[in-house]
């Protein structure tokens, strides 16, 4: 099957600095795809190359079977929603939304009709005569969205679409964005530094660092099976035990860790050799914490003391110090209502997890 967007060996260099380094990526039609990374990782440069604002130093970009690598932005079947929204301050809402159609030279009546439809979709019909500085941040964001969508682009690019909104509005807008994407079936490519945003919005995520993709996968794949330490640490928090591989079986890896003082087992998705230095990683919410050593437990049990604890309402966070001095983060749901604490500082506890919960991190 032919991919909808094909990014082939794309690089972008600014002088000595390589912002995007030989990147390959395929995005399917109708997908909501996120590029996730910290500032300076190259995600915005990649997006700007898709929009046509930056020309790649090398490589090729194809959209729906057409090579657009050297096309000017105004010729691409792509529209962008800017992080700053870039709503034209000297035009009212309706004129902002109509701008793209006016440049296409469409008839006035047709423009008015489509503007009304689009304003309906983003619930701005009442405000069509307002100027941008009479709008709230959320309303401006919807103007920017409507203005980009009205051209019926094949791909909509969104640069940090929710970063400027407050938390409540962000959650609502997230759902609205997903509904609109569903309704119109347009391929969305979102750039974000917010892992939570990427996780909830996306069909697939590409995690980017230093101009390269570290991992591409569904939110679940990326969270549960991170390829490397960067991805594991960037998405959520994780405990990593430095270990040396002792046994490699068909589907799992045994490795001894000084930090744990134990042999740890993890599902081996990657190829490792005996004697190799690896990380065995486990998410805080996959660790159980008990006062007694759990009997007949199929997995790892390690003794430690409570170094620190925090109550977050729905869950509690514990920092458990092991004999080696390694501090392990544990997160547990507060399933029962209780005023007294289950654990206190300096309590002796046992932490345990199922072998299936741990993953191997190579680098």
């Amino acid at each position: 099957m032919k991919h909808f967007i094909r990014i082939n060996g794309i690089s972008k260099r600014f002088g000595d600095f390589t912002a995007v380094d030989n990147v390959d990526l395929d995005i399917e039609q109708g997908e909501l795809f996120s590029i996730l990374g910290g500032s300076g990782c190259g995600k915005t440069t990649l997006l700007r190359m898709l929009a046509g604002f930056e020309m790649p130093s090398s490589g090729m970009i194809e959209i729906d079977g057409v090579d657009v690598t050297h096309q000017a932005p105004y010729n691409r079947p792509v529209n962008m929603m800017f992080q700053s929204y870039a709503v034209f301050p000297h035009m009212n809402v309706a004129k902002n939304v109509a701008y793209g159609l006016r440049k296409e030279g469409i008839r006035r009546a047709e423009i008015d009709k489509r503007v009304d439809e689009m304003l309906e979709l983003v619930q701005l019909s009442e405000l069509k005569d307002r100027k941008p500085d009479q709008l709230s941040g959320g309303q401006r964001q919807r103007v920017a969205l409507a203005r980009a969508l009205i051209k019926r682009p094949k791909v909509l690019l969104l640069d940090e679409p929710l970063a400027a909104l407050d938390k409540k509005l962000r959650e609502r807008t997230q759902i609205e964005l997903m509904n609109i994407q569903d309704e119109l079936g347009i391929t969305f490519v979102v750039v974000t530094h917010d892992q939570e945003e990427a996780m909830t919005l996306s069909d697939r995520i590409a995690v980017m660092d230093k101009g390269q993709f570290q991992q591409i996968g569904t939110p679940k794949e990326i969270y549960e099976f991170p390829y490397n330490r960067f991805v594991a640490n960037f998405i959520g928090s994780i405990n990593t035990f430095e270990s040396v591989v002792t046994v490699v079986d068909d589907d799992d890896v045994k490795a001894y860790s000084n930090e744990a003082g134990e042999t740890l087992i993890a599902l081996g998705k990657q190829l490792v050799d005996v004697g190799q230095q690896i990380g065995i990683a486990i998410r805080p919410e996959k660790i159980f914490v008990d006062k007694e050593k759990p009997a007949d437990f199929d997995g790892v049990c390690i003794e430690g003391v409570v170094d620190d604890l925090g109550y977050l309402g729905n869950r509690s966070l514990y920092r458990i110090k092991l004999a080696s001095g390694k501090v392990v983060q544990v997160s547990s749901q507060n399933r029962r209502r209780s005023v007294t604490r289950f654990l206190e500082w300096e309590d002796k506890v046992w932490i345990s997890w199922k072998s299936r919960s741990a993953v191997v991190l190579l680098d």
Partner: protein, 298 residues
């Protein structure tokens, strides 16, 4: 205690607001009233050289005769028109030269930007008169430009550049260009560059995006720059005198001659009042469009 501080604050606030008004009253409104009064009098050979506003019986003795004279004498109307034309040409040329320069500076890297701005302001460190004299040295019959062209073989007789309207225009554009560039730069510099990208993303070519986005958003800077050039260019005396020659007819020169050579203070005052009216009309019109824009934005 806090009440006392508040009272003090209030006093300071009033003083701060009063200061500019006081300034305008003393240095603009009062002299304006005096000029207006003189323009309604008759010239006499005395000290001061104009008749009193009231006759011996205490009745008002004012007339509009100076204004009627100005309006009836073609020479003055021509002079006004020539001044308006020259100021308009100067303003247009300054805008055409200044806009690309301001645009370039606003889009330059921050380090380069401050250097370029410094270069724009640098000529102010040298006396204005000296710079105009330097232009005389350049444009003389035996000046740098003519010598260069003769040496290059482009011409064999020196061109008459000095003492022409062209020389005046060159001097005016050169002198007032910074006043166009600085306000334009200020409005271009704070423009969000994403707006131009967004216009291109929505189907506008680079040129189209400039006219749709950059130009309208730079309008406050353009208006400020045009006023800062047009107003002083209208009344300019030194540049037309030195570069345009003693016979060039510009309103600033006429004003000077009436005051000092002819010692006809009432007529000179009338010339000044009409000049002021000529300047006030476009300013009020521009400010009204700006206020209207502001209203729409607010």
């Amino acid at each position: 205690m806090s009440n006392g501080i508040n009272k003090n604050d209030e006093l300071w606030r009033r003083f701060a607001i009063a200061a500019p008004y006081l300034w305008l009253l003393v240095f603009f409104l009062a002299p304006f009233a005096i000029i207006l009064k003189i323009s309604l009098a008759d010239p006499i050979l005395a000290q001061p050289p104009y008749s009193s506003s009231f006759d011996g019986d205490g009745r008002p003795a004012m007339s509009l005769s100076n204004y009627f004279f100005l309006l009836s004498d073609k020479l003055y109307s021509i002079t006004y028109l020539r001044s308006v034309a020259m100021a308009s040409v100067t303003t247009t040329l300054c805008l055409m030269l200044g806009f690309p320069m301001a645009y370039g500076i606003a889009r330059a890297k921050p380090a380069t930007r401050s250097l370029l701005l410094l270069l724009i302001v640098l000529p102010f460190w040298i006396s204005f008169l000296l710079r105009v004299y330097a232009w005389m040295g350049l444009m003389n019959n035996h000046g740098v430009i003519n010598n260069l062209f003769i040496w290059l073989g482009v011409i064999d007789q020196p061109l008459q550049i000095m003492y022409t309207d062209f020389a005046t225009a060159v001097g005016l554009v050169y002198s007032y260009l910074p006043f166009m560039i600085l306000p334009l730069y200020a409005s271009l510099e704070r423009m969000d560059l994403d707006l131009v990208d967004a216009a291109q993303d929505l189907g506008a070519t680079r040129t189209r995006a400039f006219w749709d986005i950059t130009w309208p958003l730079a309008k406050p800077g353009t208006i400020a720059g045009c006023l800062l050039v047009f107003i002083p260019a209208m009344g300019e005396y030194v540049i037309p005198y030195l570069l345009g020659g003693p016979d060039s007819l510009f309103i600033g020169r006429v004003l000077f001659d009436e005051f000092y050579s002819n010692r006809d203070w009432p007529l000179a005052s009338a010339v000044a009042i009409i000049l002021l009216l000529l300047l006030v009309v476009p300013i009020v019109l521009l400010q009204r469009t700006q206020a209207k824009d502001g209203e729409q934005a607010a």
